[in-house]
């Protein structure tokens, strides 16, 4: 017991010395909590590219740390708390399931700034950020609308959360903006990463006539299945053009570096960012890249034109008129869904088949 006490005292002393030694020359400590492995080639990989970009640009001014494969269970809170206790001043928690743990830890560390991706609850030192992936999804829809011969698109979906529902909606609206005969079939696999099921889901969609596919999952399985079956598909989260050159039309990618840079710069300047950010193409937080030569020139041109409009702030995907599945106006002309409404959307637009799971 005595030994334990002296050990504890030693630890406390070491911690104290550490904090006393801290001065202006110390690097800004930033940490990232990832839900998947950094090599997942998708969601986590994209976040880690952002982290690396900061490390490369700011050099010794920042010190970055990451923890990968953190389950969204009771374990998350411990990891986040540990990172805060270890002196990280900026902590990014990059998955929805970290919302409650982040808020809990933030209460105990008022001087640390937390940034939670994709959530909806903030606090004085918890800021929300997200990417409007529905914008590149809309652009992908424009291309799909041009390319589809059978007028049937397929969407392999993970979980019925608003993020995924609005990507399905945007993809469909994009396609119908150039080809009103388009319908979208949706298959849910109830997983972010399950190549076997994603593959079978893609096969089911192709079997039902879908000839252009998009997925909101974390592997390239859908794209490669499309290649095997001679139909087209897109990359998601990261550039997947190398996987299936004969099937890949374009990739919807997340670009986190600009946002992470801004947060780092503000913190280095002594004024940590505390405003929520929901950025898109305009802010450089996502993009449609690697548009393939398979895409007809007219389609590529239409997508590029719409992208320019979005970047200039002249076009909003969720501006009315938007018809619901019953064909009636869900958003009348002249109205635009608010960010809050888009962020909690749980209904399909006209052209999507089936219904959102769990919703009447």
């Amino acid at each position: 017991m005595k030994l334990l006490k002296s050990l504890l005292a030693a630890c406390a002393a070491a911690a104290l010395c550490g904090s006393l030694a801290a001065d202006a020359a110390d690097p800004l400590k930033m940490a990232w909590v990832y839900v998947g492995p950094v090599g997942d080639g998708g969601w986590t990989y994209a976040h880690d590219l952002g982290r690396k970009a900061i490390a490369a640009r700011e050099g010794a001014k920042v010190a970055t740390t990451f923890v990968e494969n953190v389950p969204e269970s009771a374990d998350a809170e411990r990891v986040i708390r540990d990172l805060a206790a270890k002196g990280n001043k900026i902590i990014f928690t990059t998955s929805f399931g970290y919302m409650e743990p982040t808020l809990k830890v933030a209460k105990s560390f008022p001087k640390v700034n937390f940034y939670h991706a994709t959530g909806f609850k903030n606090a004085p030192n918890v800021t929300i950020y997200n990417s409007r992936m529905y914008e590149p999804a809309y652009l992908a829809g424009i291309i799909a609308g041009h390319v589809s011969k059978k007028n049937v698109l397929g969407f392999v979906a993970s979980f019925p959360i608003p993020e995924v529902v609005r990507n399905i909606d945007a993809f469909t609206m994009g396609a119908r903006s150039v080809n009103p005969k388009i319908t979208t079939k949706v298959v849910w696999v109830n997983s972010w990463f399950d190549p076997s099921k994603e593959r079978q889901a893609a096969e089911a969609l192709i079997g039902q006539g879908a000839d252009v596919l998009l997925q909101n999952t974390d592997s390239s399985a859908v794209l490669q299945t499309a290649a095997d079956k001679g139909v087209y598909a897109f990359g998601w989260d990261s550039d997947m053009s190398a996987y299936a050159p004969k099937a890949h039309l374009a990739s919807c990618v997340e670009v986190w570096a600009p946002y992470y840079m801004k947060v780092a710069e503000a913190a280095l300047a002594g004024k940590p960012m505390t405003t929520d950010v929901w950025g898109g193409i305009k802010e450089g937080m996502n993009d449609l890249v690697s548009v393939s030569s398979l895409v007809p020139a007219a389609a590529a041109k239409a997508a590029a034109a719409k992208k320019a409009e979005i970047a200039a702030g002249k076009f909003n995907v969720f501006a009315g008129p938007i018809k619901g599945q019953d064909g009636r106006d869900r958003v009348p002309a002249g109205k635009t869904l608010t960010d809050k409404e888009v962020d909690s959307i749980n209904w399909y637009v006209e052209g999507v088949e089936g219904s959102v799971p769990g919703k009447k």
Binding site: G41, V187, P195, R199, A204, G207, A210, S219, D228, P357
Partner: protein, 308 residues
């Protein structure tokens, strides 16, 4: 449902069934000798990452296949040493092997994800037959590993029931004490069966990495090793039923997704549960004949045996 819509459904079922069948066949042989190796998932992952690394390093498909099998066998050898030589509990060792295999494969595979496989097994349609309705694309347009799986199933069934070695293997699983008293090298036979299990799991991993998904990512097999294990029990340790079980599982999964795609108004969560529920229901229905079960279940399954 028309014939035209059933054809892709059938093909999808077969595609999902083949890797399950491969891994389960190996486990079936191991279990028939009395060795319960729950580490199938880990061995599959090792096979997958090895195959991917070999082709990424410029190796050919045959080399990758061989290396994947070897990787599976190495893992099985470790399991065998711990459980057969050192008499450790097979359930715990198998679970430990799964953890070890997923860790080692993730570590080795760092830097390999994010790129497609440089080479892959492609479909080899058999002229004429592959155009048959319903079964054509499913059975006669597989890749080399698919055809290999069919051959290996037949060979395994033949080995188990038609050869003396098969009889010996089964008797070791039935009663190692009796087998030993007849002068059979129980431990060596169990080692051989365990290694075969590793080889087949490696092969299944290879199928995922360079035939079906053509990529590597941590946890690529996404729990299919557990399904393969369940299928062995489902099949009540008979290769023929294993084929049915793998097809049932792959088929019901495909069917659930098909129902979603055609827009049937049933909860997607219920549809996703279909393959598991179907497996349980069918198992309960076919297990009623208790004597047949007893005949096939290896009596000494999972129990350590100390041979001199």
């Amino acid at each position: 449902m028309t014939l035209a819509s059933l054809t892709p459904l059938f093909a999808s079922a077969i595609g999902a069934a083949i890797p399950l069948l491969l891994a389960a066949l190996g486990e079936l042989v191991a279990e028939r000798s009395g060795v319960l190796n729950l580490g199938v998932e880990g061995m599959m992952l090792l096979g997958a990452v090895t195959a991917f690394m070999v082709v990424a390093g410029g190796g050919g498909l045959t080399l990758a296949l061989g290396a994947a099998c070897l990787a599976g066998m190495l893992a099985a050898l470790l399991f065998g040493f711990v459980t057969l030589t050192l008499q450790a509990n097979q359930v715990a060792a198998g679970l430990a092997l799964t953890i070890l295999g997923s860790g080692v494969s993730a570590f080795l595979g760092r830097g390999y994800s994010g790129n497609p496989a440089k080479l892959a097994f492609t479909e080899l349609p058999i002229p004429g037959l592959s155009r048959l309705p319903l079964v054509g694309p499913a059975l006669f347009s597989m890749n080399a590993l698919g055809y290999l799986a069919v051959l290996l199933t037949i060979a395994t069934a033949w080995f188990l029931y038609r050869t003396k070695s098969g009889l010996i293997l089964r008797s070791v699983g039935e009663s190692p004490v009796v087998a030993q008293s007849l002068g059979l090298p129980v431990i060596s036979i169990r080692y051989a069966a365990t290694l075969f299990g590793g080889l087949m799991a490696g092969l299944a991993g290879c199928y995922y990495a360079i035939a079906q998904f053509k990529m590597w990512q941590e946890g690529l097999t996404s729990g299919n090793g557990w399904i393969a294990l369940a299928l062995v029990v489902f099949a009540s340790w008979r290769p023929g039923r294993l084929v049915l079980g793998a097809l049932l599982f792959g088929g019901v999964t495909a069917f659930g997704l098909y129902l979603q795609a055609v827009g049937v108004q049933v909860s997607v969560f219920a549809l996703s549960a279909l393959p598991y529920v179907a497996t349980v229901v069918v198992l309960a229905a076919i297990s009623r004949d208790q004597r047949a079960l007893r005949r096939n279940a290896p009596a000494s399954l999972g129990q350590s045996y100390f041979g001199m």
